[in-house]
């Protein structure tokens, strides 16, 4: 912490005034009870306690003497505005209330004596406070707990007598029982004290106010200010901050009404500053920060121009700086107590302005205090006063109390000014400035102002530079530099770099010097060409291990010291090699590296170009360029090197290969053969290094990570891409720098195979068949292809289910099953001579339908020559085909009655038909080899079923049908669903040879409902009738139950027939027996005619309706017309 200076505000001004109460009669050192009482007063004073500052004073303490009260101001001429001791006097020296502590119980044995001792003590303090309005109170410390008021008659009597003896009012006598509840009593006591103190300050205010009527405006101007200030201060002590603020405001306007001249300017400003501080402080306390800010602005506007003595101009700036700093502190304190600040209104701005004035002060000081060395500090010292301090705030030590316009003593005046100037010289200005700036930085960081923060840090860096603390300066500047670089504020970056360069020069810090130089001569620098030229020449000197010229604006002494440092550096051997990572800067050499293609075949040489361009004013010569790649084995192939002598650096010739001419793009190409192990790998440029200087001098490697580029290049590339210029045509040889893009990596891929792989097959594949794919491999290479291998089958990486349902084999003669894999790897084919062709058959069986991707991968090895180098390349060719698998045919099955009527159920022992339809879905003709019905035990064939579709050929969309007569044996419990069995179809494509395996497709037949019926009816009738020719119809009615059945039968009349037989009958049929009914139908009409309907009713099974039974009976018959023999004869006759 710095020691307080003349400009710091006095602590008594900055503290919060509290009522001052002095305690006497307490022996806090040796008396434990007194110690406890004192501790209760002063320990743990929280905000809820009344604001009092307590002090323990001895009984015989001497208080400041009170001067005799002035009765008239008529001849009084004030000597200043405010005495330096006044505030302290009322805060710490003159109590508002004096409290005498005395140990005395009401029933004390020697009451009388004690009473008079107490009265004497009171008398002593009264005397020492003579002339003051300070109140006196007495506290009796008692051992006994007092009785409730009024009950202890002795107490009230003795209290009255004590008051009388001490000349105290009853309100000023207190009792403090020393019991358990000490703190509670103390709090009550201090509240009472506080009231007394308030009264005291109120009287003081009244007293000061009463002076006013004696004052006149011509001679007592200073007193107006003084009195207002005092009233305000007393109000503050009284904790009446509202009125206090009002009085301070009046005082503030009064202070500006004072006549100002050079001699009293400092006093006026000092007081204005004090009052302003008080106002702002109270405004913040009242939570009206805007009022505080407005007051401060007003204050600054009023005082800004009140410079005072020109020879002491630095005093004004010092004062201004302090004003801003104090306000910043107040603001910050208010924030800590809960005020919210914003980005555009925070303490940082005030600290920043304080720093600005501190900078001004420093400049003025250097200007005004530049005395000749012969000038010495004046004797006698005019700044010394008899008391060692000033009487009034803001006055000159050599003419205290002097209030006229002209200084009384010119000689003293000069000496005083000189003394002040000499003192100013010793002020650590930079330290002050940096402290303020760093305060501001902390604030702006808090209020989201990163740029403001950077700016202040630059200023801090510059200040450290001035203070010759170059290490700290560089640390700060380095820190912010990249912000300006990323934001592309080149003018600001250049300015920072220039300062940094100067610092690094003065420290002879070689690496930094080179780093800053190379950016300052580069394209991001806004320096003029001649400055760049100067820096570049210095840079070359450093590269040649010589001492560079001093930077401009360095003072002579520092420059000289720096020269010596540099010479030392130069003479030291070693540490002459530097690597500078330029990626994050904007160096004067730009670099872009690119592979000419994003991929290279292993039998083609990899080509790589490095583009270099210098942006400095003079040509640059370099001695080595090397590219580092991810596979370091290639690094040795990507180097250009040409060791140069020192002279070459100086006189770089633009003709040389290793010379970069400003503004011209130079291309360096490299070519190498990739290693066969790198096939399928990525080769990356990890770095490009450019060596400047020489091994015997000093060498610097500029190192670009990756394929080059720097802090500015990506943005430039973006702009170039947008530019209309990029669309223009550029002459062949000329390379437009901006159009070059970095390509930092390339893939090494295998050699292009010169082999043809052809597939022939007949898609789609049919479900379950052995699908044949013919693979023809033909070598188009010029030499023997060795070790040809074919990998064929389902392409890996598809749905896992496909692997289970796909089987591949080379043997087409037998069906393959689950044991066969989905992919056959590395089928050896052997060597192929140029032009030789090989065919392979691959059989695929797809168990499920859907699309599958098949892979045919042919790999081989081949020896070849690249760039005169023998390499063995592995080549491969992939052929991929997607094959759809479809079902060959659809099988439809249905159950019909013997009348070909659809059945949703069949009946026990009653024959029915099973019909199968095979509908070809294959685009290729199919040959059905045979078909077979495998019946379940619940079904029986009526005869030996034979395939009816053997050797049938189905074209697309054609259908082959078969029909089998079946019947069901009886089932349990009348009705159930039974399995029917399977239907096997053996087939192959028509185009296939006879020895090709036959595919068998199994179709599961549906289940069917079987039902037992009690009665079965069938009719026996001729296939047709003839009009008017009788035809016999026989109905057979079988009882299929174990019971005797009563059957009711009737035949309904019909228009188409006459008939004979029983029209309505009831009969009884024995279990298992059959009844035959015979009718003769006599057709009346020709054509299809409905037979007369036979109604059958079972009395025992009402559920078995005639309708159900009627299904077994024919419903109609074809009736031919009557024969026409007679007519034929007549026609013949005619």
């Amino acid at each position: 912490m710095m020691s307080p200076t003349q400009w710091d505000l006095p602590p008594e001004l900055c503290c919060r005034p509290m009522a001052f109460v002095a305690l006497t009669g307490l022996d806090v050192t040796y008396n434990a009870i007194h110690r406890a009482i004192w501790d209760a007063f002063c320990a743990n004073r929280r905000a809820d306690r009344v604001p009092i500052s307590f002090k323990v004073l001895p009984g015989d303490h001497e208080y400041p003497k009170c001067r005799t009260k002035r009765t008239s101001y008529e001849w009084y001429i004030p000597k200043g505005i405010l005495k330096t001791g006044w505030m302290n006097k009322h805060l710490n020296l003159v109590p508002a209330l004096l409290v005498l502590f005395y140990e005395l119980d009401w029933d004390d044995a020697v009451w009388k004596e004690k009473q008079s001792e107490c009265a004497t003590k009171v008398e002593i303090v009264r005397t020492s406070l003579q002339g003051r309005n300070t109140k006196v109170a007495v506290v009796l410390i008692q051992k006994k707990t007092p009785l409730p008021p009024g009950e202890d008659l002795v107490a009230s009597e003795r209290a009255a007598s004590l008051c009388n003896a001490c000349d105290l009012s009853g309100k000023s006598l207190f009792v403090l029982p020393h019991t358990d509840h000490l703190v509670g009593y103390i709090i009550r006591l201090e509240n009472a004290f506080y009231e007394h103190a308030q009264t005291y300050y109120y009287t003081e205010i009244r007293r000061v106010k009463s002076h006013k009527e004696f004052l006149n405006k011509t001679t007592h101007q200073l007193l107006f200010v003084r009195h207002q200030f005092k009233i305000a201060f007393f109000s503050e002590l009284k904790q009446d901050t509202q009125n206090s603020l009002k009085y301070y405001r009046t005082a503030y306007s009064l202070v500006h009404e004072l006549r100002t001249h050079e001699t009293n300017m400092l006093e006026i400003k000092t007081m204005a500053g004090f009052i302003n501080y008080k106002i702002c402080r109270l405004c913040f306390q009242h939570n009206t920060p805007l009022d505080a800010i407005a007051q401060f602005r007003k204050h600054i506007d009023l005082c800004k121009k009140k410079i005072g003595s020109a020879e002491l101009a630095f005093e004004h700036t010092a004062w201004m700086s302090k004003q801003f700093q104090s306000f910043g502190d107040l603001f910050d304190e208010a924030i800590k107590l809960g005020l919210t600040a914003i980005q555009t209104q925070n303490p940082g701005f005030y600290y920043q302005q304080a720093a600005y004035y501190a900078q001004e002060r420093k400049q003025q000081a250097t200007h005004l205090c530049a005395h000749e060395a012969s000038v010495s500090y004046p004797t006698p010292d005019h700044l010394e006063t008899p008391s060692g301090a000033l009487d009034f705030y803001g006055q000159r030590a050599w003419r205290q109390g002097h209030q006229s316009i002209d200084p009384p003593h010119m000689e003293k005046e000069k000496g005083g000014i000189l003394a002040l100037q000499m003192k100013e010289k010793d002020v650590p200005h930079s330290e002050l400035i940096i402290a303020l700036l760093s305060n501001a930085v902390a604030q702006f960081k808090k209020y989201k102002c990163p740029r403001m923060k950077s700016h202040l840090m630059v200023q801090m860096g510059e200040e450290y530079n001035h203070a010759k603390d170059y290490t700290k300066a560089l640390k700060l500047l380095d820190y912010v530099m990249c912000d300006y670089r990323t934001e592309r504020w080149w003018s600001l970056l250049t300015s920072i770099l220039s300062t940094a360069l100067r610092c690094s020069y003065l420290m002879a810090h070689v690496k930094d010097y080179i780093t800053y130089s190379m950016e300052l001569v580069g394209r991001a620098s806004t320096l003029r060409e001649e400055q760049k030229s100067r820096i570049e020449k210095n840079l070359i000197k450093v590269l040649m291990n010589e001492v560079p010229e001093a930077e401009p604006d360095c003072d002579q002494a520092s420059a000289k010291a720096a020269q010596a440092l540099w010479s030392d550096r130069m003479s030291l051997a070693g540490s002459n090699e530097f690597t500078i990572e330029v990626q994050d800067y904007v160096p004067f050499v730009q670099c872009k590296a690119k592979f000419l293609s994003p991929s290279f075949h292993v039998d083609d040489p990899v080509q790589l170009h490095v583009y270099l361009r210098a942006d400095c004013p003079h040509p640059v010569r370099f001695s080595k360029l090397c590219v580092s790649l991810s596979n370091q084995e290639y690094n040795q192939l990507c180097v250009v090197e040409e060791p140069c002598k020192s002279q070459d650096i100086l006189e770089a010739s633009s003709q040389e290969n290793m010379c970069l001419v400003p503004g011209k793009t130079r291309i360096y190409s490299f070519k190498f053969v990739a290693k066969t192990e790198d096939v399928g790998k990525k080769i990356e440029i990890t770095a490009v290094d450019l060596m400047l200087g020489s091994d015997n001098g000093r060498c610097v490697f500029l190192n670009w990570r990756g394929g080059g580029g720097d802090a500015a290049s990506s943005h430039e590339a973006l702009l170039a891409a947008r530019s209309f210029k990029s669309r223009g045509r550029v002459p062949e040889q000329h390379v437009e720098w901006d159009t070059v893009s970095i390509q930092a990596s390339t893939m090494i891929i295998s050699r292009i195979p010169k082999i043809s792989v052809q597939l022939s097959h007949e898609p789609p594949a049919l479900n379950n068949e052995m699908y044949r794919i013919t693979v023809s491999i033909q070598s188009n290479e010029e030499t023997v292809t060795k070790d040809v291998k074919l990998t064929a089958g389902l392409k890996p990486g598809q749905d896992a289910n496909l692997t289970q349902s796909t089987h591949v084999t080379l043997n087409g003669l037998e069906m393959c099953d689950e044991s066969h894999p989905a992919l056959l790897p590395d089928i050896a084919i052997g060597d192929l001579q140029p032009g030789e062709k090989v065919e392979k058959y691959l059989y695929v069986r797809c168990v499920t339908t859907g699309a599958r991707i098949f892979l045919f991968h042919v790999a081989y090895a081949l020896s070849t020559k690249v760039e005169g180098k023998d390499i063995t390349c592995k080549c491969h060719k992939d052929e991929i085909v997607t094959i759809e698998t479809v079902v060959p045919f659809e099988v439809a099955v249905k159950f019909v009655s013997t009348k070909f009527e659809h059945l949703d159920r069949v009946y026990v022992d009653i024959p029915f038909l099973l019909m199968t339809d095979i509908l070809s879905a294959s685009p290729w003709p199919l040959r059905l080899v045979t078909s077979q019905l495998q019946l379940a035990p619940t079904m029986a064939a009526m005869d030996q079923p034979q395939s009816q579709v053997e050797q049938v050929v189905l074209q697309t969309g054609e259908c082959a049908s078969e029909c089998f007569s079946l019947q069901c044996p009886p089932v349990l419990n009348g009705m159930s669903s039974v399995a029917s069995g399977q239907y096997l179809i053996s087939w192959k494509r028509k185009s296939w040879s006879a020895d090709a395996p036959v595919v068998t497709t199994v179709a599961t037949l549906p289940h069917v409902m079987v039902e037992t019926i009690p009665l079965y009816v069938h009719a026996e009738l001729p296939s047709f009738g003839r009009v008017r020719e009788s035809m016999p119809v026989r109905y057979h009615i079988q009882n299929r139950t174990g019971l005797v059945q009563d059957v009711e039968m009737s035949v309904e009349p019909s228009d188409a027939f006459m008939f004979s037989g029983l029209k309505q009958v009831r009969l009884r049929i024995l279990p298992g027996a059959e009844q035959e009914m015979l009718y003769n139908f006599y057709p009346l009409m020709a054509g299809y005619q409905n037979l007369p309907q036979l109604n059958i009713g079972l009395l025992r099974f009402p559920a078995v309706s005639g309708q159900l039974l009627r299904r077994f009976l024919p419903s109609r018959i074809f009736v031919k017309p009557q024969g026409r023999q007679a007519d034929d004869a007549s026609i013949a006759a005619a």
Partner: protein, 157 residues
């Protein structure tokens, strides 16, 4: 024609000496596209002033919610006052920023006049952008823009 115009501008500035001391156009990415100040010797200080004012501009832009972005007023008003200068800001819809620095002592310049200065600047900037030979993102080098800016600046004496 051009001659009359420039004389007009001169007349204008002489009678309204209360004008900008620094005018800057800042790209969306916050680098300067154009920056000019009087007096020239204090150029660097103005560059810093403009650069630091971007803190407030950024904050103001981000304070306006995304939903409100469409209705956002381009004029940002007084960014922050320094002891000597007042800094005003304006943001186009494409996030190009205009900054005008005015002397603090210049109390006669009202908000309306600042607004109209920004409008003029915006119009002129639009003209620059419409030039097919201008590459967006490049620094502005346009005589028309220059003379418009000159007309708004305090004449360096």
């Amino acid at each position: 024609m051009e001659h009359t115009q420039s004389r007009d501008a001169c007349w204008h500035s002489r009678h309204h000496s209360k004008m900008a001391v620094c005018i800057a156009v800042i790209a969306k990415e916050n680098y300067p596209l154009y920056i000019r100040s009087v007096p020239v010797q204090n150029e660097l200080k103005f560059h810093y002033t403009v650069h630091t004012s971007l803190d407030v501009v950024e904050e103001k832009i981000s304070a306006v919610g995304k939903a409100m972005a469409d209705q956002r007023e381009l004029y940002l008003g007084l960014l922050y006052p320094t002891e000597d200068y007042k800094v005003y800001g304006y943001v186009t819809n494409s996030k190009v920023k205009f900054v005008i620095v005015v002397d603090s002592s210049n109390t006669s310049l009202r908000d309306n006049e600042i607004r109209s200065m920004f409008r003029k600047l915006h119009n002129s900037f639009t003209d620059v952008m419409c030039n097919p030979f201008y590459n967006p993102g490049d620094t502005i080098q346009s005589k028309a823009f220059d003379s418009m800016v000159s007309a708004m600046m305090v004449q360096a004496s």
